[in-house]
């Protein structure tokens, strides 16, 4: 670096100029970065990017700023509440971009631009493969699996490197995904998102607070949801009768079925009660009065309220007395450790009939307080009253951020816990943790992973620059060598690592997403019909035998032994662009599944209407020329990538099967709870010939940013964190993992697979298993 170079470099970038190989700074200045998510990690990333000299960044985020974001997402202030996160964050980061000193700097003379897109990454019209391909690399700062998978696939299909990161409490990880590097993609390891709870546990034999919270969420749906039949607590009369008749012979089943019957009946009472409340709303507001004017008619109001109170009392009696007594009467709990104790009718009457201030309206109210049964009852009544008195209908689905919904679920789940002697009783705050699977996000962890992501970005840009200069043969190879999968741990490893880098894991050979199973296909979408696509490409070229074809998540074609061929026949003659669900156009991703082969691929379609073929021009002496392709339309297509290989179906089927069976003991009736994955699933992940380091370190692998101070729990490590929050007993299944430790022989690590990772006594899983969430919120 000469003196003149140094003085032309903006002062804030001189450190980067000195630390990195000379041409990298100009690579940084001219690169184009896509950032998906501008929450906790996103804010940190934007700051790091701006202060590192990145000048062209686009930010996609759907969210608006909430008060609860302010104590971590440091680019936001209270005046920004309600505004689009990506806009505020981009503007704040723009302020930090160092100005370039001289305009004649030919590295980059376009003004810097951080462009926000207030939209959903799932929106294929805006964010598709051609769009992704305009970037040097993509940074993920997301809080949910759906969006992560989407970006993963977009990046794989585009051949653009993706730097993925997630945090949960004190744990986090950063990795680089790149199709060309031949490394693990986001979906190489099954991201089992759900823990399956047997429905009868929820409905009849709860034993943990989470069971009661799940029940309360379903109750909310039943009481306030638009479609009562969507609640798992709902059962229609007909199916009840059928079930009863069918199971009449078998004593055991009969018992269960009648239990369900009474269960359903109990809920039907609830429905009636809520119906009653709604009707009374109708009758009081029937005289062409807007609901707001009700208060002027005092006497009518009193009447109205007492009707409501009576209805609420009936509902609560049905839920916490009648129903429980019925279950006890059926000897359902004769072998149980504790027999549930219904609420006393006296208490119920006292709490519902008269006006008592509910706990959340008291002056000294704190969300961490524990409510008594009486307080829970009063709180529930106040929820019913609020719903009936309000002119705006309640949310049809439970939302942990909805104040009324959260009060309702806290009170209802705790009443159930009291009845079933389940401990501990949850405060509203901790119930929210269970209901929304919240792990309080920790600002420091976000800062760490965002910093690590930008360091990985430096590596990728270096590889891209070296490739451009012919120093390396391909970018992917460089990425594989330079980039690291880094774990952020709570407790140090045996060698003292709290940030533990490992070489990027190898892909799962069965990964349908990254192992050549994302196919790019160019054709004329205005001329090709679904029939042509089906016979020429999907069957002939890709070897599907009984494909199901999906566009925009909807089935447009399906075949199989027990499928009526006429159902989708009308689609076959349609042009691709004219198919349902928005049609197939440039950038559309078609899903193709074939259960007979256990094969699932995605086809990324590029529209191409002009085709040329090379011809030998004899006159010019063998010189090649091109002319318009005049073959049949069905011959004019191009498939990029390799054909998907058909994996031996046994292995993957088994895997999927065990995952399901491991937790559900009631096959046909189970409830899936988002994000409460058991670590048992981890132990069953495909033990492909993957390298040891990734497998063993997996339990330390945690997901998710906190976008909203909360995260959905996805993988093993995170599950432990949830357990810490929700006071549940964690399963013993993670113990074997705890015994091991990922250790890393750093002296021998450099890109040498053979020496890569050694497994010693305990993996980072041990650390993740032992973390405790400490809240560092300031408020």
């Amino acid at each position: 670096m000469s003196t003149s170079e140094s003085s032309s470099t903006p002062p804030i970038l001189r450190g980067i100029h000195a630390a990195l190989p000379a041409p990298l700074l100009s690579q940084i200045l001219s690169s184009r970065i896509l950032l998906v998510g501008s929450g906790g990690i996103g804010c940190e990333l934007l700051k790091n990017l701006a202060l590192s000299g990145f000048r062209h960044v686009q930010v996609i985020d759907l969210d608006t700023i909430d008060v609860s974001n302010l104590n971590r997402q440091f680019l936001f202030r209270s005046r920004h509440v309600g505004m689009a996160k990506c806009k505020v964050a981009s503007e704040a980061a723009m302020q930090m971009i160092p100005p370039l000193h001289n305009a004649d700097n030919d590295d980059d003379d376009t003004p810097p631009a951080y462009v926000p897109h207030h939209g959903n990454i799932l929106d294929n019209n805006q964010f598709h493969v051609p769009y992704i391909q305009t970037f040097s690399l993509v940074l993920n700062a997301l809080d949910n699996i759906t969006a992560r998978r989407r970006v993963n696939r977009l990046c794989l299909a585009s051949g653009i490197p993706l730097i993925e990161a997630g945090t949960a409490g004190y744990l986090g990880q950063v990795t680089v995904i790149d199709k060309n590097a031949g490394v693990e993609c986001y979906e190489c390891q099954a991201k089992s998102t759900q823990k399956v709870y047997p429905i009868c546990t929820i409905r009849s034999t709860p034993s943990m607070p989470v069971h009661c919270v799940v029940w309360a969420k379903e109750l909310y749906k039943l009481c306030f949801g638009g479609k009562v039949e969507e609640s798992m607590l709902f059962e229609d009369e007909e199916s009840l009768r059928a079930e009863k008749d069918g199971a009449a012979d078998e004593n055991d089943l009969a018992e269960k079925s009648s239990a369900d019957t009474t269960d359903g009946a109990g809920k039907t009472d609830t429905e009636k009660s809520t119906d009653a409340s709604n009707k009374s709303v109708d009758s009081t507001t029937n005289n062409n009065e807007p609901p707001g004017e009700k208060s002027t008619h005092q006497s009518k109001d009193d009447n109205f309220e007492s009707t409501l109170r009576l209805a609420a009392q009936q509902a609560l009696t049905a839920l916490f007395v009648t129903e429980i007594n019925k279950q006890i009467g059926m000897n359902r709990y004769k072998n149980a450790e504790k027999v549930p104790l219904p609420l006393s009718l006296e208490d119920l009457e006292k709490c519902t009939a008269t006006e008592v201030i509910p706990p959340t309206q008291r002056k000294d109210y704190q969300p961490t307080q524990i409510w008594s049964p009486a307080e829970c009852l009063v709180e529930m009544v106040s929820c019913f009253l609020q719903v009936s008195n309000s002119s705006t209908p309640p949310l049809p689905e439970f939302d942990k951020d909805d104040e009324m919904a959260m009060r309702f679920v806290t009170a209802a789940s705790n009443l159930r816990s009291y009845v079933f002697h389940i401990e501990p009783i949850q405060s509203l705050y901790s119930a929210k943790g269970i209901a929304g699977n919240i792990i309080p996000a920790i600002a420091t962890t976000n800062a760490i992973v965002a910093g690590l992501q930008v360091l990985q970005a430096f590596h990728i840009l270096k590889c891209q620059w070296m490739y451009k200069n012919g120093e390396i043969e391909d970018v992917g190879g460089g990425i594989k060598k330079l980039c690291r999968y880094t774990y952020c741990l709570r407790e140090k490893t045996r060698r003292g690592y709290i940030l533990q880098p490992t070489t990027l894991p190898l892909p799962n050979p069965n990964c349908f997403v990254c192992r050549n199973a994302v196919i790019s296909l160019s054709l004329n979408t205005k001329e090709w019909t679904l029939q042509m696509l089906l016979t020429r490409v999907i069957k002939k070229e890709l070897g599907f035998s009984q494909p199901t074809i999906l566009v925009g998540g909807d089935i447009v074609y399906e075949e199989g032994d027990d499928i009526d061929p006429s159902e989708y026949a009308s689609n076959l003659s349609k042009k691709l662009i004219g198919l349902p669900s928005g049609g197939v156009g440039h950038g559309t991703v078609i899903g193709v599944e074939d259960f007979t082969q256990d094969l699932e691929v995605e086809i990324c379609v590029s529209h191409k209407d002009e085709w040329f073929i090379a011809v030998e021009d004899e006159v010019a002496g063998g010189k090649k020329d091109i002319k318009l392709d005049d073959r049949e339309e069905s011959e004019k297509f191009e498939i990029g990538g390799k054909k998907p290989s058909v994996p031996p179906s046994a292995a993957t089927t088994d895997e999927a099967q065990t995952t399901k069976d491991s937790t559900a003991d009631d096959d046909d009736s189970s409830v899936e709870v988002m994000g409460m994955e058991s670590t048992a699933n981890n132990a069953q992940k495909p033990s492909a010939e993957n390298n040891g380091s990734s497998k063993e370190a997996e339990a330390g692998n945690v997901e998710d940013d906190d976008d909203d101070s909360d995260i959905e729990i996805i993988e093993g490590g995170t599950t432990d964190a949830v357990a810490a929050t929700s006071n549940e007993n964690t399963s013993e299944s993670r113990m074997p993992l705890k015994k091991r430790r990922l250790d890393w022989d750093r002296e021998n690590q450099n890109g040498d697979d053979a020496k890569k990772a050694k497994i010693a006594e305990d993996t980072p899983a041990a650390n993740s298993a032992e973390i405790e969430i400490i809240e560092i919120d300031s408020d």
Partner: protein, 349 residues
């Protein structure tokens, strides 16, 4: 934790990151940095300082010196310390802390010995070895006296961190205090009985360990990043004395000076050249290192180490979780951060 106060001595990328993290978490900040703004923080990548604003001030000043711009006597007089410049930014970051944050515009040498022990943590950057030792002993003395006065009941401690980043690397020395007790996290919701840090080495003792002896089970020779921090600390001290390096002084000359200084320094401290190897056989060129010594700040490096050290401060305040005893080494090339125990041969056994 809500009453905690942390003293920041000299703002750099990494101390700004620690401060940002802790202020967001509700820990009040006292900033001591009497250096002139914006000159002292011109190369500092932090959300607290805006490059465009700093460069404008400097450009305006140069115009005035040349007699070009509008004569504006007010601006010339408006000398501001870094502490004064950052104060409103810190307050703005977390309005709940307004009134509890403070600044200190005296230089470190003018601060009395009993000043440092009043804080829950002292986070310092760009210190000299002598300053670090003095503050360490002052903190020890403060808590010793307090303990004596309280009849051995006091559990107060001051975490003292001396940290710097240089290029892609960063290092921190951490002294949690001899009286510090922490509870190890045992699974969910369970904590161990209070545990002492073992072996405990005070900051002053850490700096008294001859660098050549700084080895350990996994380090046959002194770790590269530790060697670099000490080299940088001594070089920056030398620069401050001679007024060389940094700023707009002759870059090439400064680099030559550094190379000469470093060679002699390695010699004096009996550090083998191989200590500077990133990988076996791949040495770090002293010339390259010179550029880093003159321009040490890299934003993401400060972010990562600032996050890690923020966690260590929280561990100290909550007394939960095993602290990093007593050196943290961060290498940005692979993103690894690990703990290293720096102590004399005797105490290790």
């Amino acid at each position: 934790m809500s009453n905690a106060r942390v003293l920041y001595l000299n703002l750099t990328g990494v101390t700004c990151e620690i401060m940002k993290n802790l202020v967001l978490a509700g820990v009040a900040a006292v900033v001591c940095d009497p250096r002139p703004y914006p000159d002292a923080v011109r190369e500092l990548p932090s959300s607290f300082f805006r490059a465009s604003e700093m460069e404008k001030i400097i450009a305006d000043r140069q115009k005035e010196i040349k007699g070009e711009g509008e004569p504006d006597s007010k601006r010339i007089k408006a000398f501001k310390t870094v502490a004064a410049a950052v104060a409103p930014e810190v307050d703005e970051l977390n309005p709940l802390l307004v009134g509890r944050n403070a600044i200190e515009e005296r230089s470190i040498s003018l601060l009395p010995d009993d000043y440092f022990g009043q804080f829950d943590a002292v986070v310092a950057s760009r210190l000299t070895v002598e300053e670090a030792k003095r503050i360490s002993m002052a903190i020890q003395k403060h808590h010793h006296a307090k303990k004596y006065a309280d009849g051995d009941q006091s559990e107060e401690n001051t975490l003292f961190i001396v940290t710097d980043t240089f290029g892609l690397d960063g290092c921190a020395h951490l002294d949690f205090g001899s009286s510090h007790r922490y509870r190890r996290e045992l699974g969910k919701d369970k904590l161990s009985d209070p545990t002492k840090i073992n072996p405990y080495v005070s900051m002053a003792d850490m700096f008294d360990v001859p660098l050549a002896d700084a080895s350990g089970r996994w380090d046959k020779i002194p770790p590269r990043v530790l060697v670099l921090q000490r080299l940088m600390m001594d070089y920056w001290e030398e620069n401050r004395k001679t007024g060389g390096g940094g700023g707009d002084s002759d870059e090439e000359k400064s680099k030559e000076d550094f190379v000469a200084f470093a060679k002699q320094w390695l010699d004096t401290n009996k550090i083998p050249q191989s200590s500077l190897e990133i990988e076996e056989g791949q040495s770090m060129e002293l010339d390259h290192l010179a550029g880093i010594a003159l321009h040490p700040e890299v934003s993401p490096v400060a972010a990562v180490l600032g996050g890690v050290l923020g966690n260590e401060v929280i561990k100290s305040l909550t007394r939960k979780g095993e602290p990093a005893n007593n050196v943290l080494l961060f290498s940005g090339l692979d993103g690894g951060c690990r703990n290293f125990l720096l102590c004399a041969e005797k105490s290790r056994k």
